[in-house]
């Protein structure tokens, strides 16, 4: 991860009075800059409140999933040094995706602009003052935490399929609920957007919820195709314009992995009654036509050889190519508590060139993201080019999420085990369409 200008500010400050110490918050390092690099006054009222209100309070408010309320100066001020650390390290807002590497045009990108990070850092360096209360901005309309992420732009989902309720105990083994819900889904209709949303406290215990469109085959068995893949923190999927992701089957098959005791702030180590997960689908009109078909696919990275020794590290790689051109519309790496980084590259055999598409240096299982590329930036991949995915695992004490660094870790279903795969939304192209998209992209640049 390339460190920001802000980071160097802190370092320069520390060279005059270098203080490095561990804070009590899960062993993180607190860089305490004594002297501010920026001497212009920065106040909460005039500069910082807007940033926190627009980016933080959505979760850090009463009833929110954040562990503290940041909706006013009095509530923010005690946390100022930690806020500075989290923001400077780009741990908050929780959207881990490296800057200045690969594709940066993303939909639903929560990352703070560098300017805003610098403002917060300067504010704390200067003493975290309130400033003139008359300059406080009004709190923006906050999203209803129970609302669908795409409601503002797409309205309510056309179809909502709820899982059957399950009680999750306060502790114990991971749980997996597999359910087939006869939903009457419109087979063949093109999907506009998808979101999986655990209700209420279920947010903390639902580790992942993979869904499939399902239908009975002639032999009485079940055929199914991936519908969407949710893991803790995921925002949802938007299918690009001009693309059809068809509904494959009339039923929805749920595969919900729950982690008793939960992670995150709310409902820790508490029983969660009637855990329900909702699946929302926004549909295109019945007469919607698109010549590009999209599907969601998961590809593996050496899962059979995924072994992480005690107090050790490991890396996995996976390779996949297509015999026809494709466009990669999204990238979602997946792992568990030891995984901490991921990347996606494309190797072009004809030229020998490798292009780094996406890099996530501080990946966390608590905040899975499916990184949705803007349509004009999504990689156009010629036939035969190779997707190369890499993931890194840390089983040392330095990994703050590590439940037990003394253990050997290998592939498994539980949160304590590991996995190594990535999920991509792939738009399948023919050569003509591929060339059209390439020409269009070249003319736009």
């Amino acid at each position: 991860m390339k460190f920001s200008r802000t980071w160097h500010k802190l370092k320069n400050c520390s060279t005059r009075l270098a203080i490095l110490s561990l804070v009590g918050f899960q062993g993180q390092l607190l860089i305490a800059a004594v002297e501010a690099g920026n001497t212009e006054p920065v106040t909460y009222s005039a500069h910082v409140a807007r940033i926190i209100n627009e980016n933080c309070v959505v979760c850090h408010r009463e009833g929110g999933i954040g562990p503290m309320d940041l909706s006013s100066y009095d509530k923010v001020r005690p946390w100022a040094p930690l806020i500075q650390l989290k923001v400077a390290n780009r741990e908050m807002p929780p959207y881990a995706y490296d800057h200045d590497i690969g594709i940066q045009d993303l939909q639903g990108d929560w990352r703070l602009a560098q300017e805003d990070i610098d403002t917060v850092v300067d504010w704390v360096n200067q003493g975290s003052h309130l400033g003139n209360p008359d300059e406080l901005p009004p709190m923006p309309a906050l999203m209803d935490l129970d609302e669908w992420n795409f409601a503002a732009q797409l309205g309510q989902p056309d179809i909502v399929v709820a899982s059957n309720p399950i009680d999750v105990p306060a502790s114990g083994n991971d749980m997996w609920a597999k359910q087939l819900i006869d939903s009457g889904l419109p087979v063949g209709r093109c999907i506009k957007a998808l979101q999986v949303k655990p209700r209420g406290d279920a947010n903390t215990v639902v580790h992942h919820a993979t869904t499939y469109f399902a239908r009975l085959n002639e032999d009485g068995g079940l055929d199914r195709e991936p519908a969407t893949s949710y893991a803790m923190g995921m925002w949802g999927e938007i299918v690009p314009e001009g693309v059809c992701r068809p509904v494959f089957g009339e039923s929805l098959y749920w595969d919900i992995h729950m982690y008793p005791g939960g992670v995150g702030a709310t409902a820790p180590n508490a029983v969660v009654l009637d855990n329900i997960v909702d699946y929302g689908i926004w549909l295109h009109p019945p007469d919607y036509e698109a010549k590009i078909t999209q599907e969601l696919s998961a590809y593996q990275l050496d899962q059979g050889d995924l072994f992480i020794p005690p107090h050790g590290t490991a890396m996995t790689q996976g390779f996949h190519s297509f015999d026809h051109p494709v466009r990669i519309d999204s990238f979602a790496p997946h792992g568990h508590l030891r995984m901490h980084a991921a990347s996606l590259e494309i190797f072009y055999p004809e030229t020998g060139r490798t292009e780094l598409i996406s890099s996530v240096s501080n990946w966390s299982a608590n905040w899975h993201h499916s990184h949705l590329y803007e349509a004009d930036s999504a990689p156009l991949v010629p036939a035969g080019a190779i997707l190369i995915a890499k993931q890194w695992y840390d089983n040392t004490v330095d990994n703050l999420h590590n439940p037990d660094p003394d253990q050997w870790v290998s592939w498994g279903e539980r949160t304590a085990d590991e996995m190594s795969h990535f999920v991509v939304a792939v738009s399948h192209l023919d050569e003509e369409t591929y060339q059209e998209l390439v020409a269009q992209r070249n003319s736009n640049e």
């Binding site: 749980m175 609920a177 597999k178 005791g261 072994f307 107090h311 980084a341 890099s359 253990q407 304590a416």
Partner: protein, 308 residues
């Protein structure tokens, strides 16, 4: 992946560059990025998880992975031991190729709860590997509760009923001569309560019993009992079929109709000595049950003393 930075303060963070991608310094070996060999790999011990018992004791489940194409023999002793020693004795001596969960368990008495037990395993001249067993992170906590679709650990018994990885050990030691056929039997019942109207669940799910040599010096041959015919089992997983890493199965298995009834097999031994036979009873045919879900199966152990 974080790039190496020249920032001094950054040196205190964990920085992983492309130079060394697999680091096993704690176990004194490196594992380069290339396909591993099919032999000569150390067997890896795994602590699967722990159960909190009502009497304050903790039962720790152990398994292993043998990445070699062939089975590996590691007799009990210095290269295969539990510390403290008084809690040892149930670890296997033959390590079948593949990943095997919950092969044995150790119960730590309440009086020793503050202690960790360790399983040490050394394959030939390879490095000694070890894993601790204790009431550790919640992430490793297991339980005996029904799963969402009702699956539970099958009950097994010779005398008193038991279940889970620790299962039951027959009180009576059976005796037999070399190459003489011995009939083994125990009872099993699947207590799972399932909603048969659920389209994901087949009617009257059968359980399966797999027979393994667990300890002993010689070859063990399992022969079909007339009342418990062998069934065809999935092809034994090899390294060529790595993903998904399915649980390999023994080459001998029987089916228990509707999960209730006796499990029987005939067995003979090639050498004199003390043996232990393990039977794993599972209900992995249910969609919510499987080895890597850490539920649901139970072990039944039978000691056999073989004479000339």
């Amino acid at each position: 992946m974080r790039r190496v930075s020249t920032c001094i303060a950054c040196a205190v963070f964990v920085l992983v560059n492309t130079a060394l991608l697999v680091d096993a310094t704690a176990q004194q070996s490196t594992r380069p990025l290339r396909p591993p060999p099919s032999e000569g790999m150390p067997v890896i011990p795994f602590m699967e998880g722990w159960y909190a018992n009502e009497d304050g004791s903790v039962t720790v489940s152990f398994g292993y992975q043998n990445r070699n194409a062939e089975d590996v023999i590691i007799p009990s002793g210095e290269n295969n031991r539990i510390e403290p020693a008084q809690l040892g004795g149930m670890q296997p001596e033959i390590y079948f190729s593949g990943r095997h969960t919950g092969v044995f368990a150790v119960t730590i008495p309440a009086s020793m709860q503050s202690d960790s037990i360790w399983w040490y395993l050394k394959t030939g001249d390879q490095e000694e590997l070890k894993v601790p067993g204790n009431r550790s992170s919640d992430a490793y906590e297991l339980d005996r509760n029904p799963l969402p679709l009702g699956s539970m650990q099958p009950l097994v018994w010779f005398e008193a009923r038991g279940s889970g990885p620790e299962g039951v050990v027959a009180q009576r030691i059976r005796t037999v001569s070399v190459d003489e056929l011995l009939s083994l039997e125990f009872e099993t019942e699947d207590p799972s309560v399932r909603d048969l109207s659920n389209p994901l669940i087949a009617d009257s799910l059968d359980t399966r019993v797999y027979w393994y040599k667990h300890q002993g010096p010689g070859e063990v041959t399992f022969i079909e009992h007339a009342a418990s015919p062998f069934i065809e089992t999935p092809f034994r997983t090899t390294r060529a079929s790595r993903y998904p890493p399915t649980m390999p199965v023994a080459s001998t298995a029987i089916s228990i109709s509707a999960g209730k009834g006796p499990a029987r097999v005939l067995v003979k031994f090639s050498e004199p000595g003390d043996y232990m036979i393990r039977a794993r009873v599972d209900n992995w045919a249910a969609p919510d049950s499987g080895g890597l879900f850490q539920c649901c199966w139970s072990n039944a152990y039978q000691r056999v003393r073989v004479s000339e």
